[in-house]
């Protein structure tokens, strides 16, 4: 799980072009949206594509995203339970 969390942080930084952010800056339980990393709705779309492309996970219900993307911790748990690749 720890390895997956690190990988997800790297992928998020890369996909969202977070130039000034390093893996060490993102804490596992920090909120990704709003006050934490400050991501927005366009970033949410990018993350949905990331899950599909890298882990074979299709989010059928966009409302799921709110819980799944709340932190690296929740995202990693969801990926581990649902990944197909």
């Amino acid at each position: 799980m720890a390895e997956l969390k690190e990988l997800l942080k790297e992928q998020i930084i890369d996909v969202l072009n977070l130039e000034d952010i390093t893996v060490a800056d993102i804490q596992d339980n920090d909120p990704l949206f709003g006050e934490g990393l400050g991501l927005d709705s366009i970033d949410a779309l990018e993350l949905i594509v990331l899950l599909d492309k890298e882990y074979g996970i299709k989010l059928a219900d966009p409302k799921q995203g709110k819980e799944i993307f709340s932190s690296i911790q929740t995202l990693a748990q969801f990926v581990e339970q649902n990944r197909t690749k």
Partner: protein, 349 residues
């Protein structure tokens, strides 16, 4: 007719961001030239910056420079010209579409790939809900925007208008244009005065202007007229004389003729025909400083405005051996491969 003053200028291009046109020789030009970038974070929020391709960054930054210089007036319009639009994001999106078999397409590059992205991003940064328009008219894209800006000031209640031009490199498009002979190949020599090979020395950049009805103490110049047409109906000489006549001028009244000479042997005759109409006039050029792109003529306007404001005509702008007797009136003429002609007339404040 109301007056139209240039009260602020912002330029980003292939010269160093701190380059001073009137004080420094420009860096040598090559066949392909990339923009030298400032620290964009100084003027653009990091959260917005991370989604911007080169052209959007250059445009937003240059617009902010122009606004700062003009003391940040409330804008009545944001008008942009671009020959090719946001090509980098267009290529990024299309490449992903092909590489990933039309799956996993992310939204950012698609959203930012439209031609009006720069004008829209400037409006978003400024929270400006005023008139917002982007002209895509090949080699006269910038002049189309300028023409609109001048008309907005003349025929509406607009007081302050931001007008600019932006174009950026994009690898695949550049390769296609090189194959077509429009751009020089990377190892080709660049000679602006006696070109022997076709193709232009490619550049990129963003140049923005704050146009205002009010003259300020630091105004650069007064914009008198803008005219554009696809091709001369009879001859370029006739078009020039008609334009001068409409402005109650003769060729001898033009102190500097600024032409878009672009080191392309196949286009040299078009500019030589313009120069022949002004045999006793100082002729200036600027694309050896900016490189060539569809809206490079906006850099020409920036150069002309700086010359008029400072009343200095640096030797590196001079194309012929004639020195201007005074620096009151400058006429800029441009064309692109025999079409997209434009005249821009400026006078000192």
């Amino acid at each position: 007719m109301k007056n139209c003053y240039i009260n602020g200028i912002g330029t980003i291009g292939i010269q160093h961001p701190d380059y001073k046109l009137l004080e420094q020789e420009p860096q040598a030009l090559f066949a392909r030239n990339q923009a030298q970038h400032p620290v964009y974070k100084e003027l653009i929020p990091a959260a917005s910056l991370r989604r911007m391709a080169t052209g959007v960054k250059m445009g937003c930054y240059a617009a902010q420079l122009a606004l700062q210089e003009a003391q940040q007036p409330a804008l009545d319009a944001i008008i942009c010209g671009t020959g090719q639009g946001c090509l980098q994001d267009s290529e990024k999106f299309l490449t992903a579409m092909i590489a990933q078999d039309e799956e996993y397409l992310t939204p950012t590059s698609f959203i930012q790939s439209t031609h009006n992205t720069v004008a829209a991003q400037i409006a978003l940064q400024l929270q400006c809900h005023a008139y917002n328009f982007t002209y895509v008219q090949g080699g006269s894209s910038f002049e189309s925007a300028l023409f609109d800006g001048l008309n907005q000031l003349n025929y509406s209640n607009a007081q302050h208008i931001l007008v600019g031009g932006v174009d950026e490199h994009a690898p695949q498009f550049d390769d296609l244009y090189t194959l077509a002979g429009n751009y020089k190949a990377e190892d080709e020599a660049v000679d602006f005065k006696n070109p022997t090979q076709g193709g232009v020395a490619q550049g990129e950049g963003a140049n923005f202007f704050l146009l205002s009805q009010e003259q300020q103490a630091n105004s650069y110049a007064q914009l008198l007229d803008v005219w554009l047409f696809n091709q001369p109906q009879r001859s370029i000489a006739t078009e020039i004389m008609q334009f001068l006549s409409l402005n109650n001028l003769q060729s001898k009244d033009i102190d500097v003729l600024m032409l878009g000479y672009n080191a392309d042997a196949s286009q040299q005759a078009y500019f030589d025909a313009m120069a022949a109409c002004f045999p006793e006039t100082a002729i200036a050029y600027y694309q050896h400083i900016s490189g060539s792109y569809d809206t490079a003529s906006a850099y020409g306007l920036a150069a002309a405005a700086q010359v008029l404001k400072a009343q200095q005509f640096p030797a590196h702008l001079s194309y012929n051996s004639i020195k201007p007797n005074r620096l009151k009136t400058i006429l800029l003429i441009n064309q692109s491969r025999g079409t997209d002609y434009s005249f821009v007339l400026l006078t000192a404040c």
